[in-house]
């Protein structure tokens, strides 16, 4: 999914029917023709490769392209998920 306000792109790892916003504006499969304004309350940035989750862990997004907006669901900010790496097996 792509941000309407910045460069951020995410893929959905776990969905449910939760809404997803970036920079306060709903994300969609395509960017709108006109870039929407970024809500300063959701301008913390999104980092490539980081996973973002809601409190219940029912929604998980992987950021595949970084951007200035930060992610939320229904207006509640998503948090970066801590990595619990396995020993390298490859």
């Amino acid at each position: 999914m792509k941000s309407a306000v910045c460069d951020t792109e995410v893929v959905v790892i776990k969905a449910g029917d939760a809404p997803v916003e970036c920079g306060g504006v709903p994300m969609a499969a395509e960017r709108p023709a006109q870039q929407a304004p970024l809500d300063p309350a959701f301008a913390g940035g999104t980092k490539i490769g980081k996973r973002y989750v809601n409190a219940a862990h029912t929604l998980e997004l992987l950021c595949i392209k970084a951007g200035q907006g930060s992610l939320s669901s229904g207006g509640v900010a998503l948090q970066p998920r801590e990595a619990k790496p396995l020993p390298s097996s490859d």
Binding site: V11, I13, I48, G49, K50, L62, I64, K65, A66, A83, P85, L86, P87, S88, S89, D90
Partner: protein, 507 residues
């Protein structure tokens, strides 16, 4: 999601960072990504159904893999060690194809078969020259990213397929993006046509761990490369580790002080070998990774701390863990089932079943998943009370004697405990009385006298039971293994159905 995302993200995050080193050439993520996009354009234009690789590992394998992914065409690395007749059959099955690598052999074996062949160098320069900015890959995840022919036993090889979704589930589920520091480097020396080689490429690129590619394994080359490039990680099969350890023990010096993590798999790891490795390289963490082509590689692993704890332990049950393949990944479920499909409790041996997003279990011809998505691995094993998985050989290698299932592994372990026996294999031979009965082949240690057959039979009878006692014993200089270190019991079955040769005593 498309598998090319792995390389795309690495190139997006740090385009100039070196991602792959091979034969002295150093490739940045950007260069690899440019190559992949150019390759994708060429592949799409060719109209081919498959992208075949008939070559040792090199940057071309990586560019072909990701180029094919972007183009939405399955990538099919072929086993270049196959005999002409077998390879010709596979070429027939992939045509029309773009083929990269041994153009001469491809031309000789499939002259009229719709194979457009590129040498490695020609492919790379064509891909890089083709500046291609537009990227519109199939994002559904449902397309086939990789097709691997699994070695057939009697019938033709099956074409195992891995979809984008399977491989991404494995990578995203087990690797943290960009987690490798600039110092980290992974030495990959396994062939490109095995899932282990492919998984190593994908994991390393996603972690942004520089890949040190060694196209052809040689223990001295491996040591030199690891020392010169300060490899921090490596993946080997057990027979490679044996040769590396042998060189070190013979006095070959190599600075492996950077080598923090060695993972191994692909075949059975002899306990004495991993114990020697743990002693010789105390600062290196060892990980045993168990997985199959059909499961996008690793489904269970025994990590460095578990190796050390088992090695240090005095309690025999704890020590035995060193022979385990560890615990299932958190992203999969593993179950042991009997022949009726009933799930078995800990301690009881049966067939290993696995389920999870990374598990494909699919072949071109059909899916091998059951109604609930479980895949039968055809590996025999059991799980202990702590959740550790132990392998006891292929289910196909189980000897069925008078309706009783006998696992070769337990007989082989007993034989290997004999001080004069270096290696052993147990396998089925036909029996009028029992249907099948036990035969063994043993390799005597160089400085030992061969034990009498009666002694070996008594050893097995006393440690196991009389049904395990072999009716036929063959002495061999070496046992047959494939290049991944898998014991080929079916080879021995075949050999013993032929008349006895000079290397064998009559029973």
């Amino acid at each position: 999601m498309n598998l090319s995302l792995v390389l795309q993200m690495a190139a997006e995050a740090e385009p100039e960072r070196i991602g792959l080193v091979c034969d002295g050439r150093r490739w940045s993520y950007r260069a690899l990504w440019d190559g992949a996009r150019g390759a994708a354009a060429l592949i799409r234009e060719s109209g081919c159904a498959h992208v075949a690789l008939l070559d040792e590992n090199s940057e071309a394998a990586a560019v072909a893999l990701f180029g094919a992914a972007l183009a939405g065409v399955p990538y099919v690395p072929l086993n270049y060690r196959l005999a002409d007749a077998d390879l010709a059959a596979l070429l027939g099955r992939v045509a029309p194809a773009c083929l990269i690598g041994d153009t001469g052999r491809s031309e000789r074996l499939a002259p009229d078969h719709g194979i457009r062949a590129f040498t490695r160098a020609a492919f790379m320069s064509a891909a890089l020259e083709r500046a291609e900015n537009s990227v519109a890959p199939d994002e559904s995840g449902t397309g086939v990213a990789i097709q691997l022919f699994t070695s057939g036993t009697t019938a033709a090889p099956k074409a195992a397929i891995l979809r984008h979704a399977n491989l991404l589930a494995y990578i995203l589920g087990t690797v943290e993006f960009g987690s490798a520091s600039m110092d980290e480097a992974a030495l990959v020396c396994v062939p490109p046509y095995h899932i282990a080689g492919i998984a190593a490429l994908l994991s390393s690129i996603y972690a942004q761990r520089r890949i040190l590619l060694l196209p052809a394994f040689d223990p001295d080359d491996w040591l030199a490369f690891a020392a010169a490039e300060r490899a921090t990680n490596a993946f080997v099969v057990p027979t490679m580790l044996a040769r590396i350890i042998a060189r070190l023990e013979a006095g070959r010096s190599a600075d492996l002080s950077a080598l923090a993590a060695v993972a191994y798999g692909g075949g059975r790891m002899p306990l004495e070998l991993i114990a020697r490795a743990l002693e010789l390289l105390p600062h290196t963490g060892f990980t045993n990774a168990y997985g199959l082509t059909e499961t996008s590689s690793t489904i269970a692993l025994l990590g460095p701390e578990e190796h050390r704890a088992a090695h240090r332990a005095s309690d025999p049950v704890e020590r035995a863990r060193l022979g385990s393949v560890g615990r299932p990944l958190p992203t999969v479920q593993i179950e042991i089932r009997d022949e009726t499909g009933r799930a078995l409790p800990p301690g009881q041996p049966g067939e290993i079943y696995v389920r999870g997003e990374q598990v494909s279990g699919e072949y071109r011809e059909r899916s091998a998943l059951d109604a609930d998505g479980w895949f039968a691995t055809r590996d025999a094993g059991w799980i202990d009370s702590q959740g550790y998985l132990y392998l006891s050989g292929r289910a196909d290698d189980v000897i069925v004697r008078g309706g009783e299932n006998i696992s070769p592994g337990e007989i082989e372990d007993v034989l290997r405990s004999h001080p004069a026996i270096a290696d052993a294999a147990a396998f089925a031979m036909p029996s009028e009385e029992w249907g099948e009965t036990v035969a063994i082949a043993v390799v005597v240690r160089p400085d030992h006298a061969a034990p009498a057959e009666a002694e070996l039979k008594q050893l097995i009878k006393s440690r196991l039971r009389s049904s395990r006692v072999p009716e036929r014993i063959a002495f061999r200089e070496a046992l047959p293994y494939n290049e991944m270190g898998k014991l080929l019991r079916r080879e021995l079955r075949k050999q013993l159905s032929e008349p006895p040769t000079a290397g064998e005593r009559a029973p």
